[in-house]
């Protein structure tokens, strides 16, 4: 018998693993318990600063004045809508008053800044012969009577709040809720998710009725909804595991092997999460993709192992020998594939956005962990468990039966099939190139692009945009001056010109800054005479005119005044136009002591992100493809081989860009890494298939026979891998978070298409090259 020789032929790694199996089981168990405990403490987080390119000049400028701009940006708006004719009814006003009071007591609210027609800081004023008169919008002697309501209506009209706190159609009223990023009492940072939940429980659930509708918008709500959406991803994970288990069983007909693969892959996920927690990194809505990928990669390599063990068992080997031989035959291929995955992921590090880098780190750690669990632990477990009799019988049957689907793929070494496939590929390439032109940088949908266009948040946002005079796409330019010079005449005069320059830039709706306050102040303080709506060279006059400047429009030491530019939308072209207009102005007008710095506001930050994405896009492509081509050259040392493997990948890349163009998915933080992931994992298929093809050719088979040989050995596993990977990410298509859904669509497409590309185009291209060289020789 050959039994003794199996142990003696073993390599070092194999001996290390199999000679002390119980010890390894113990070590794996202990590590899993420890990392499991760590992983249990991982919470989804959505850190704003991690989603933006912190090194970019715009963001650096923004960080410099982040605190000064806080009161400007971090505001939640609650619109209370009535289904009656208008808001001037006793019941509605009572509800509005109650909601205002309720909001006042929610932790995190900046109470002095809270504004609604029921807060005392909202006043009306009027010019009379004696000067200004005014008072709170709610009449002093309010008693909810018809007379009071009529008085309220008059006061609202005089207050100038129509379009601000009261909707243009008088059917809803706003509560403007500024937030404290840091609790002034405890010093703790605001917990967005908790805050968002409180809004739901204490406001929406409590006050929404048949006659009253509540609409809530604001950055805090976006983050809250994002994290809430992220928790739903947990359900997708369960779905992905279930489907995978069913597929595993269908493939192996052995519960033991199926569960072993599933368990090892799941352990890989636990380890990955635990290690992330240990190194102080978090999991965000982007890197949430990684556990899915790790699980799927784990399963696909696990399948190779149990496949081999099954084959060995059919050949009559014992449990342990079957496992040993499987390990021996697969560990080099597995390691190579995983290393190429890991290197593919690390190319993402060239993009200077933390969420992407975290994703790259998490994915690389995950792949490294898969090496241990599914190449190490799985064979050990299987050496104890073994493949069930039923599984062995199934494998035996499969070996003898001619597989229909594989037979179909085997056709592609025939010239007619090969050239048809190549022709179709060229058509696909053309399609991708044409529609890829439509692919845009950045987010294309209105409202909060992180969430779906028809999400409750975006509907609420649309309601507020439709009924109030404010855009939610805001680009802020920071006018930096020497301390206490922010309202100096010279500076204001140039800022006024700048405002007009920007107002006439395409895509700009409105521009507001302290200049507007100064001009409005002059208008108001001169008896409401519009002919004074201008700046005055006298600094005392200017000081008086700006004395009612709302907080946030100048900073504490008056060294910075934000210019707020309201945009029609946040499309990349709009942002580029705005940035170019600011640059043009800066070029034309240079004044000592005044710097116009870009950029804050959601659109300003998006402009920075877009520019980083745009420059990273090609850089990343070049890196990924260089790495992949380099690895393939190293493995196969043949340009022709590498061409056969790389061309299908490129086709997939081009076609996925076409898909993005057609589906209106922009290149953004979420979708940029997808290409790298797709290429990094996609190349595995080619490597596996071509390796076997080459083996066959080396053994003297012709191309048709070689490809059949390759298909029967790795083709089936490649198909299975493509499917498991696709299923792992396809569940994401149903995520409430728009960018996760986009990632899901693209990855599913890439995994499936790369798999098909490898199985169809590699033999087709090989046939083409073979025929070409034959002609040349003839």
């Amino acid at each position: 018998m050959s039994k003794p020789s199996i142990a003696t032929q073993s390599v070092f790694l194999e001996r290390l693993l199999f000679n002390v199996r119980p010890l390894w089981l113990l070590i794996f168990t202990l590590i899993t318990i420890f990392l499991g405990w760590q992983a249990s403490q991982v919470r989804p987080e959505a850190s704003f600063t991690k989603m933006i390119p912190t090194e970019h000049e715009f963001i650096q400028n923004y960080f410099k004045y982040q605190n000064d701009l806080a009161s400007l940006g971090n505001v939640v708006r609650i619109a209370v809508e009535t289904t009656d004719n208008d808001i001037f009814t006793a019941e509605f006003q009572q509800t509005l008053q109650q909601i205002t009071d309720e909001v006042f007591f929610i932790p995190g609210v900046n109470r002095s800044g809270l504004k609604s027609i029921w807060t005392p800081n909202v006043r009306w004023s009027e010019v009379t012969e004696e000067g200004f008169v005014g008072g709170p919008v709610i009449p002093d002697n309010w008693d909810a009577s018809a007379a009071s309501l009529e008085q309220l209506r008059t006061n609202v009209l005089r207050s100038g709040e129509v379009g601000n706190l009261v909707a243009n159609n008088f059917k809803s009223a706003l509560i403007v809720v500024p937030l404290n990023e840091v609790n002034p009492d405890t010093g703790e940072a605001l917990d967005y998710q908790q805050f968002s939940q409180q809004l739901e429980e204490r406001i929406r659930d409590k006050y929404q009725s048949d006659t009253v509708k509540i609409h809530i918008t604001g950055f805090a709500k976006v983050i809250g909804d994002l994290i809430e959406g992220a928790y739903q991803v947990g359900i997708f994970f369960v779905v992905a595991i279930t489907i995978t288990l069913i597929m595993l069983f269908w493939y192996s007909r052995c519960w033991r092997s199926s569960f072993a693969v599933l368990a090892c892959s799941f352990i890989a996920v636990i380890w990955q999460l635990g290690i992330i927690k240990l190194i102080g990194s978090g999991i965000n809505p982007y890197s949430m993709l990684v556990p899915f990928l790790v699980f799927a990669i784990g399963v696909s390599h696990g399948v190779q192992i149990i496949n081999a063990i099954g084959n060995n068992s059919v050949a009559g080997h014992s449990k342990i020998d079957a496992a040993r031989i499987a390990f021996r035959s697969l560990y080099i291929a597995g390691l190579t594939a995983l290393v190429s995955d890991a290197i593919g992921f690390t190319t993402l590090m060239v993009i200077n956005i933390e969420v992407i880098q975290e994703l790259a780190i998490a994915a690389s750690i995950g792949v490294a962990v898969v090496v241990l669990t599914n190449l190490g632990l799985l064979p050990i477990i299987m050496s104890y468990a073994g493949v069930s009799k039923r599984g062995i019988r199934h494998t035996e049957k499969q070996q003898t039966k001619k597989h229909q689907l594989l037979g179909f793929f085997a056709n592609f070494t025939k010239p007619k099939w090969a050239y048809t496939a190549i022709a179709l590929a060229i058509v696909g390439l053309g399609w991708g190139l044409v529609y890829g032109q439509q692919m845009k940088i950045g987010d294309l949908d209105a409202g909060a692009p992180e969430l779906r266009p028809d999400s409750r948040y975006n509907l609420d946002n649309q309601f507020i945009v439709d009924n109030y005079s404010s855009s939610t796409d805001i680009f802020v330019v920071m006018a930096e001056t020497a301390p206490s010079q922010c309202i100096a005449y010279d500076n204001l005069e140039l800022l006024d010109r700048f405002s007009w320059h920007m107002e006439n830039t395409p895509g700009v709706q409105d521009v507001k800054s302290v200049v507007y306050v100064a001009k409005m102040g002059a208008f108001g303080l001169n008896e409401g005479n519009l002919k004074w709506f201008s700046l005055n060279r006298n600094q005392y006059v200017l000081n008086a005119n700006t004395s009612r400047t709302p907080p946030g429009l100048v900073n504490a030491d008056c060294s910075m005044a934000p210019v707020i530019i309201y945009l029609n939308d946040h499309k990349a072209e709009t942002l580029e136009t705005v940035v170019a207009a600011v640059e043009e102005f800066n070029q034309q007008y240079q004044q000592d002591g005044l710097e116009l710095l870009m950029a804050a506001g959601n659109s300003g930050i998006e402009a920075a992100t877009n520019s980083v994405i745009e420059s990273a896009q090609n850089k990343m492509m070049i890196w990924v493809y260089s790495v992949v081509i380099g690895l393939c050259l190293l493995t196969f040392r043949s340009v022709r081989t590498v061409t056969c493997i790389i061309l299908p990948l490129m086709l997939t890349t081009v076609m996925s860009q076409g898909l993005m163009g057609v589906l209106g998915i922009g290149t953004k933080v979420a979708t940029l890494p997808v290409i790298a992931l797709g290429v990094g994992i996609g190349v595995d298929y080619g490597i596996y298939i071509y390796a076997k093809l080459k083996e066959g050719l080396a053994a003297g088979m012709n191309l048709d026979e070689s490809y059949q040989y390759a298909l029967s050995h790795t083709g089936k596993a490649v198909g299975f891998t493509g499917l498991t990977l696709a299923i792992g990410v396809a569940t994401w298509i149903f995520s409430p978070i728009k960018f996760q859904a986009d990632m899901g669509i693209l990855l599913t497409f890439m995994f499936l298409w790369n798999m098909l590309g490898a199985m169809i185009l590699i033999p087709s291209l090989a046939r083409m090259f073979a025929n070409l060289s034959r002609k040349r020789h003839a």
Binding site: W500, E503, S534
Partner: protein, 385 residues
């Protein structure tokens, strides 16, 4: 066109474009709003506009950012005039179809001789301040000399002393303005003829030119205005010039501004505009819905009220008789020949500070949100009810 011609025109076009770019990319340091040419702006008709007027051929409006816009036929789009300054304009008036003046903040006066297409700077605030200094130091010297050689009554002496006080105060202001820059905006302009033009402004400033703007005379001290109230508006009928302003002050001059009499004012709040209609009736409008009309050159006034108490800022003859008035908070009113009143509120609620009708009888108002057009006022009122 043959190929060579295409090529040549392309070269010419490129050359033109590149010079345009070069002109555009000039670097400006020490930005001065008075001397910065008005920016060509697509949103000009939506900017803050203060006054609108009409010549035989054109409708012309002025406002913020050195904007002067005009259009010929009623339906054509607004065009922007070439203006050498970016200051905030407050007033515009034409003597005939070609000759017009516009005034505004920072002591700027511009003029056109081509019906409003291009404008030239006639006075800027720095020149104005210099001129004020020269004028008031001369005046102080003259008054001091008069006082030294004085031998009249005590009352007359006291008057001279007051005048000297005022002149010295103005001189100090002018000297201060030399370092600070011009701070007094002009608020209205009235062209009586191609030569005779009157300008009034903040803190009692008044200018007159008798040569179409080549020279401007300072007339501040001709009006008795010891508190330096703003002079908001100037107008004329066949006999008199009228100036009205802050605190209900109304003045009348029969000698082209040489001397002024203070009229008995019907109101103690500010008047923002004056108007002489087709019937030679004098209209004064102002703060808190105050509207007065005089049929006897300002000797007596009749009071008219709209529904709302908002500032009324401008008056113009209505084609169907009576006058249109516009005011703050989007108020547009019509007072017919029998003094019946009709009112509407423009949905924008914008402060309106100028009003005009065009050749087709359409009502054009300008204000906080730019130009507002109302095709049929009566129908608009009806629809709002």
């Amino acid at each position: 066109m043959n190929k060579a011609a295409v090529h040549v025109s392309a070269v010419v076009l490129t050359a033109l474009l590149s010079t345009a770019v070069m002109a555009n990319s000039a670097i400006h340091r020490d930005y001065e709003v008075m001397h910065a040419p008005a920016m060509l702006a697509k949103k000009a008709p939506q900017a803050v506009l203060t006054e609108i007027t009409r010549t035989d051929t054109r409708t012309i409006a002025v406002g913020d950012y050195g904007l002067i816009i005009f259009r010929d036929a009623a339906q054509s789009a607004w065009q922007q005039a070439e203006v050498p300054t970016s200051i905030f304009f407050t007033g515009i008036d034409f003597a005939d179809a070609d000759h017009g003046w516009a005034v505004g903040h920072h002591g700027v006066i511009v003029a056109t001789i081509d019906g409003g297409k291009t404008w030239q700077l006639q006075l800027d605030g720095f020149q104005y301040v210099e001129q004020q200094k020269a004028h008031f130091s001369q005046l102080v010297a003259a008054l001091e000399e008069q006082l030294e050689n004085f031998d009249g009554s005590e009352d007359e002496e006291e008057e001279l002393l007051f005048a000297l006080d005022d002149a010295s105060f103005q001189l100090e202001n002018a000297e201060l303005a030399l370092t600070e820059g011009p701070t007094k905006p002009f608020l209205d302009v009235h062209a009586v003829s191609n030569d005779d033009v009157y300008v009034v402004g903040a803190y009692g400033s008044m200018l007159r030119s008798q040569d179409g703007g080549k020279h401007w005379d300072i007339l501040d001290e001709r009006i008795e205005n010891p508190d330096g109230y703003h002079l908001n508006t100037v107008i004329s009928d066949d006999h008199y010039l009228y100036v009205a302003g802050e605190a209900g002050q109304v003045f009348r001059s029969a000698d082209a501004g040489e001397s002024w009499e203070l009229l008995d004012s019907p109101y103690n709040g500010s008047f923002f505009a004056s108007y002489v209609d087709k019937q030679q009736q004098l209209w004064l409008v102002g703060l808190r819905g105050n509207i007065f009309v005089s049929t006897d050159q300002g000797d007596s006034f009749e009071r008219i009220r709209l529904e709302d108490n908002v500032n009324i800022n401008a008056v113009v003859d209505a084609p169907q008789g009576g006058v249109y008035l516009v005011g703050n908070a989007g108020v547009i009113g019509w007072v017919d020949a029998n003094r019946n009143v009709m009112q509407m509120t423009h949905p924008s609620a914008a402060a309106l500070s100028g009003v005009m009708t065009d050749a087709d009888g359409r009502l054009l108002a300008v204000g906080q949100r730019g130009v507002i057009e109302i095709d049929d006022f009566q129908r608009a009122v009806h629809e709002q009810e």
